[in-house]
Point group: C2
Chain length 222, copies 2
């Protein structure tokens, strides 16, 4: 490689920020403040700042804080979108992430984001629709064998809330007793001692749980 200098692409990070509203997965968008697509709702994102960000995750954390008022939420690298034609400005690399935030945490952040159902997000600029599609597939796939969907819940939840979030993420109904058996077998949860919640439906107060390990992984088998 005598190839010392080449024209360099644009490098950005983009974040598919997902939350729940009325038991549906929603995506949080922000109107763009500059061309191209000024004023159009788009994924939360921005340039990597090479003098400020130590790595791509630092760029994501900085942008989530600056543009959505969020810190400490779950995010994970999704996929990188890199081509000559995804951005009208230049050859462009978007290192895409997906992030999950409980509804309550997003509300407390107090930043006016535009929420749209993820399965009816409408038109999006650049290749953001492709990025959203990839995030939905990843979440559906990983949801089946990880505790990632629980990141959409507050720290403390009931078993019914947990099952509902898996059903939402996976887009299918799960058998209640099979779900509870699986969750028990996997030993992912711990009871929150001394706390119960009285729900309208149940006669007795409902047991509350929290995640034991942050990211215990379901077993996989051929």
């Amino acid at each position: 490689m005598a190839e010392t200098e080449f024209p360099r692409p644009i490098v950005t990070v983009d974040i598919v920020l997902l939350t729940l509203r009325e038991e549906r997965l929603h995506i949080a968008l922000l109107p763009r403040t500059a061309e191209p697509f000024a004023g159009v709702a788009a994924l939360i994102g921005g340039y990597v700042h090479v003098e400020e960000d130590s790595d791509a995750e630092a760029a994501v954390a900085r942008i989530l804080k600056a543009k959505a008022g969020l810190s400490g939420i779950f995010f994970e690298q999704l996929q990188t979108f890199a081509s000559v034609d995804r951005d009208p400005r230049d050859w462009s690399v978007s290192i895409a992430y997906f992030a999950l935030v409980p509804q309550e945490v997003l509300d407390e952040a107090g930043v006016a984001l535009e929420l749209r159902p993820v399965d009816a997000a409408g038109e999006l600029p650049f290749d953001h629709a492709d990025i959203v599609r990839a995030a939905r597939e990843r979440l559906r796939g990983k949801g089946a064998y990880s505790t990632i969907p629980a990141r959409l819940l507050p720290d403390i939840f009931t078993m019914s809330e947990l099952q509902a979030i898996y059903e939402t993420v996976m887009g299918e109904r799960l058998d209640q007793s099979a779900f509870r058996r699986k969750i028990n077998d996997l030993n992912l949860l711990e009871e929150v001692e001394g706390e119960k919640r009285q729900t309208e439906r149940a006669r007795r107060p409902t047991t509350l749980y929290r995640l034991k390990a942050p990211l215990a992984v379901f077993d996989r088998r051929i």
Copy 2:
């Protein structure tokens, strides 16, 4: 975003090229021809050429052809490694891919690559050891519910060869009858009509198979 121009990072693609040698997964490396780390065996990779490559996959295909003499082999995006300190030259983005090539195809390409067992690859420059580790984990994870491991075999193979490749990739022994039942249930293979192979061990010629769909995915379940 009034942020029109920012210093841009280096953008490269790096490829974890895996093949089989003596029933073990091996990684194919190339000695670097320029600084940094000139002469040191490293992942096959190079700069994205924004004037030539339409997207990251085009860069991968170009580099596999130019540096390893390979075309038409299976590759898939792995993960992007992006930080201020992974490359001594500058803030750097490596869009990493893993690629699988049957031993015979690599031999025919006739390029002298350095093959090392993937679980004993020794020291590697940059963060290439991290990239190799991510590729092994991905392959082990995806191996369990995809036909990806079969990409290490020639187009036509026996059921025993197929089981052996899954065992190699997943690093565990699989029960033969359970494996065959699963493979049959999933309807992934078709018999190669009129072709059998006489092996030393078997009394009768062995049935040969090929993949029916290029990438049928195993079922997943909570």
